[in-house]
């Protein structure tokens, strides 16, 4: 009876929660995961994974440990607590019962509510007609263009000599996507994309789009745990041996230091080379899981050609490639087109996992063969980089949970120079007062970085060792303190660093939430690295330090209007110079309940002395679109996003954004241009228009 009373109280406490939109539920995760990254993260795949749970919420009472661990919104401890609670008290009576678990506070539950449920319909794979009738279809198209057009497009209009490198297509970006989902059991779809300035329905793309991707995914059909056909991704352990999917770097989510990968999954993204193509399957026998995959596809590569006397007009024959572009995909110019599909890529591998009462252990092995050798242009810093056309990677990984301790790790060996990489970590939960994470990594300088996404300072899983300590402490009802400290070394040279180097990264944030309608945080980050400077006479390497201060507040005026304000500054210092950057923005978000129209906008001013002082900010964008904007200039940035729900099934997003760079006084009389090369635009103002339409057939 007391327990039921507690539940009623908890439910009552949630009754005043504001209704959040699908976009916001997803954006809150994306923002926290990617906020510290400098690399472009695959938002589409991450969003797709979350949308599946929005449309088919995870059943808290029926989900297996493996399913719970795979979702991006639960930490290992939360999963452990859910399983323990189910074991001790039986099924959850209502979702808010989660609040009795130490790792779940009001804010956490509020953020994950749309992704979980207790009353999901039990679907089974049986009759094809039933699958078709009960499944949902989604059509989505996004179109974007910017003004003024870039120099690469203007060349095409004004020059008769088209031998000059130029853009072949219009400034319009477009993608078209279709997907079908039958719960989380059956899924298939097609994705197509034309990047801005790529040709469409002509030239190299007579079928229209430059990129096509298709997939079919089947899960949990008896012992067959997974079958992937077409394009798919493979992710195992901590991402050292094989991960073709996304992996986030350091962030305010301290448990993010651990990867929760779970084998094969459908590839729904638009990164044009970052997937496997072929077949992958997984079977489960009691506690054992085994799987295998085969993939064959073509990759973009920067080919080195040998002249052929019989081919006077052409390039000749490719003999090697200086790189392979696993995240490439721009085919706007004749020279970019020569790189397209230049390399043939064959991969095959197997994995096995064994479940234990307190976790799991696994092993993965795969072979990759390219039809031409990879031969990077020789530089001292890339002396240990992989060279050749075939490699093998083997890894073993583990993930153990015992009470409030989670141990995880992976050891991997790549065949090139028999190099090793290893990562080992621990998450320790001392209840609400304190969570701690520790991660040690040691990535050999010859370790093959392709399709590896180990946790670390750089996005490269090689030539780095380090120790990371993260913490989160609930100081009181109103204050939370969190942060990390990361020490790292690079045993060999890096680009722009002509000697072995070291560095540190300290990040801390204090959050203040006095009321339900107001929250604020202050964040400080200081990162020290060594770099080579030509001007330096005293030593080969110099320490550079980047400090960042951020003050951010959110306040809700009423149930329909929310405001967000941010001030951020950065200081970049070397022993001989110091530069500053600052940015301030004001957001307005209008999302009245039950209204078909939602609006959000931003006014941002920035003053950036040096690109090293650039400041990133997260913007409201249409679902699936990339939300991180780089303030790398001094000037203004405004945007307005509208979402209109015509019917329950049809949503339209329209976004207008404008950047205006400050013109230096000595350029007042000139035609001021921004950008460089073919990307140059003859203006200090750039406008971007985005339209997205989604049609759902439930």
């Amino acid at each position: 009876m007391r327990f039921k009373g507690l539940i009623i109280l908890i439910v009552a406490s949630f009754s005043r929660l504001n209704a959040q939109t699908e976009n916001e539920f997803i954006n809150q995760f994306i923002e926290r995961y990617i906020e510290n990254t400098t690399d472009e993260v695959d938002i589409q795949q991450f969003t797709s994974d979350l949308v599946i749970y929005l449309q088919n919420p995870l059943d808290l009472n029926k989900a297996t440990a493996s399913e719970l661990l795979t979702v991006p919104f639960f930490s290992s401890f939360q999963v452990s607590e859910i399983l323990e609670h189910r074991k001790t008290f039986g099924n959850f009576i209502c979702i808010y019962e989660l609040q009795v678990l130490p790792s779940f506070g009001t804010e956490v539950i509020k953020n994950i509510i749309p992704f979980i449920s207790l009353k999901t319909q039990t679907l089974k794979i049986g009759d094809v007609r039933e699958i078709w009738e009960k499944g949902s279809h989604q059509f989505l198209t996004l179109t974007e263009t910017s003004s003024p057009r870039k120099k690469g497009a203007l060349i095409k209009d004004t020059l008769t000599d088209l031998n000059v490198n130029h853009y072949l297509g219009s400034s319009v970006y477009n993608n078209l996507r279709y997907r079908f989902d039958y719960g989380r059991l059956v899924s298939y779809g097609v994705n197509m994309e034309k990047d801005a300035y790529e040709s469409f329905l002509n030239g190299n793309n007579p079928l229209g789009y430059d990129y096509f991707s298709y997939y079919f995914s089947l899960k949990n059909m008896g012992k067959l745990k997974s079958l992937q056909l077409g394009d798919y991704q493979a992710s195992f352990g901590q991402g050292l041996t094989l991960n073709t999917g996304i992996a986030f770097g350091k962030s305010s989510i301290i448990t993010n230091a651990k990867r929760n990968f779970n084998g094969f999954g459908a590839y729904r993204s638009l990164r044009e080379n970052a997937f496997l193509r072929g077949i992958a399957t997984t079977y489960q026998f009691n506690r054992s899981t085994v799987g295998a995959f085969v993939s064959y596809k073509k990759l973009d590569g920067n080919g080195v050609y040998r002249a052929d006397s019989n081919d006077l007009e052409g390039l000749g024959y490719i003999i090697s490639t200086t790189n392979i572009q696993e995240d490439g995909g721009l085919h706007r110019t004749p020279s970019e087109l020569t790189d397209k599909d230049a390399i043939k890529d064959f991969q095959t591998g197997i994995f096995t996992e064994y479940s234990l009462p307190f976790g799991k252990i696994g092993a993965v092995s795969y072979l990759r063969r390219l039809n031409q050798p990879l031969e990077p242009i020789p530089q001292v810093y890339n002396r240990f980089n992989f060279r050749g056309n075939q490699y093998l990677k083997n890894g073993i990984y583990y993930d153990f949970i015992y009470r409030n301790l989670n141990l995880f790790g992976e050891i991997s060996m790549s065949s090139y120079q028999n190099s090793f990489a290893q990562v080992h970590g621990a998450l320790i939960s001392l209840g609400k007062p304190l969570d701690i994470s520790l991660v040690y990594r040691n990535y050999g300088k010859s370790f093959i970085t392709m399709q590896s996404t180990g946790f670390g300072e750089s996005g490269i899983t090689a030539n780095e060792n380090g120790l990371y300590v993260g913490f989160e402490s609930k100081l009181s009802r109103q204050f939370t303190l969190l942060g990390y400290y990361d020490l790292f070394q690079n045993p060999w040279l890096r680009s722009a660093t002509d000697a072995p180097s070291s560095g540190s990264d300290f990040w801390s944030e204090i959050q203040y939430k006095p009321t339900k309608v107001f929250q604020a945080y202050y964040r400080y980050r200081t990162e020290t690295k060594q770099r080579s400077y030509a001007a330096s006479q005293t030593s080969l390497l110099q320490f550079t330090t980047t400090q960042r201060h951020r003050f951010h507040i959110n306040y809700t005026l009423n149930k329909g209007i929310e405001l967000r304000s941010r001030i951020e500054s950065s200081i970049f210092a070397t022993p001989i110079s110091r530069s500053y950057g600052s940015m301030i923005y004001q957001d307005f978000i209008y999302k009245p309940m039950k209204s078909k129209l939602q609006l959000s906008g931003r006014i941002a001013f920035s003053n950036i002395e040096n690109f090293n002082n650039r400041i990133y900010s997260f913007e409201q964008v249409p679902l699936y679109d990339y939300p991180l904007f780089t303030h790398g200039y001094s000037g203004l940035r405004y945007y307005l996003l509208t979402r209109y729900t015509i019917k329950k099934e049809i949503d339209i997003w329209f976004r207008y954004a404008i950047n205006q760079l400050d013109i230096p006084l000595d350029h007042l009389m000139d035609n001021f241009a921004t950008g460089s090369g073919l990307d140059e635009i003859n203006s200090n103002i750039k406008q971007t228009f985005t339209l997205q339409i989604r049609y759902l057939i439930p």
Binding site: P514, T515, F518, F551, I553, Y555, L557, N558, L563, S565, I567, S569, Y580, S582, M583, I584, Y585, Q586, I603, A604, F605, S606, N607, S634, G635, L636, Y638, Q660, D662, I663, L665, D666, L668, M669
Partner: protein, 267 residues
């Protein structure tokens, strides 16, 4: 030569425009180091127009000088009146320099959206008269819009944007008025101690931080503040039931003293 001269003049004009935007000249704002986005008085028409909605009706005059240079003087008159939840305000200011005279007239309206929140907007007319034969006289319209939010009994937040559309002064070459976005906060430390802090980003300027403290004792008020642009300030205020007098002086470590005085009548 003419081009260089024009650019130099533009440079001076731009600097003056931007320097003038937060109008740290009135004695109260000056004495708080420039932190004024949450201060409640008639000068809110400049500092954060939304705060007018929570301010008491008032007519005030301000006379200020910058750095002891006679050409750098400023006179300003403000009036504001409230009817229920809506306030209207007017201001006029003139900065008579030898080579450049700036005049600015404002009309503003602010409204309480509920017991804790207000919003406001002011329309500004700027006129610049220069002795330069090329420049002569220019005028333009700008606006500023703000929000004021009492989070709880102790904490208040204010934000204001000035001239987001970057109004044009001259077409060729394209010279525009600067824009400013600022965010301020007020925290009541005790019964008679209040802290103020503003962050302000103007186009083509570094982030500016201003902070000040105000201590009140019956009819008297003491204020002190600083700006990270090497400025410290002190001020003193006295008020009776209707009359208010505030004086302040700031010191810049390179440019020297700037005095300011307000005389106001509350209704």
């Amino acid at each position: 030569m003419r081009k260089i001269g024009t650019i130099l003049l533009l440079s001076v004009l731009t600097n003056l425009c931007i320097a003038d935007l937060p109008s740290a000249n009135n004695a109260i704002t000056l004495s708080l180091g420039g932190a004024s986005a949450t201060y409640l008085n008639a000068f809110a028409i400049e500092n954060n127009v939304a705060a007018l909605a929570f301010s008491k009706a008032e007519f005030s005059l301000n006379a200020a000088n910058r750095f002891g240079i006679s050409d750098y003087s400023n006179l300003m008159a403000v009036y504001h009146h409230s009817i229920e939840n809506t306030s209207i305000g007017f201001s006029y200011q003139v900065s008579p320099l030898a080579s450049l005279t700036q005049q600015k007239a404002q009309v503003a309206v602010a409204r309480k959206l509920n017991k804790d929140i207000s919003a406001g907007v002011a329309l500004n007319y700027h006129r610049f008269s220069s002795t330069d034969v090329y420049y002569q006289k220019r005028s333009t319209l700008t606006f500023n819009a703000g929000l004021y939010f009492q989070v709880n009994e102790k904490l208040t937040i204010g934000t204001q944007i000035f001239n987001p559309n970057r109004s044009e002064l001259t077409r060729i070459p394209k010279e525009r008025m600067g824009s400013v976005l600022k965010l301020g906060t007020n925290y009541k430390l005790g019964h008679n101690i209040e802290l103020y802090a503003d962050a302000l980003q103007a186009t083509d300027r570094k982030l500016a931080i201003h902070a000040g403290v105000e201590l009140s004792k019956e009819h008297y008020t003491f204020r002190g503040g600083f700006g990270l642009n090497q400025l410290v300030a002190l001020g003193f205020g006295w008020k009776s039931s209707n009359l208010k007098i505030d004086i302040a002086a700031s010191y810049h470590n390179q440019l020297g003293f700037s005095p300011s005085v307000n005389v106001g009548h509350a209704f």
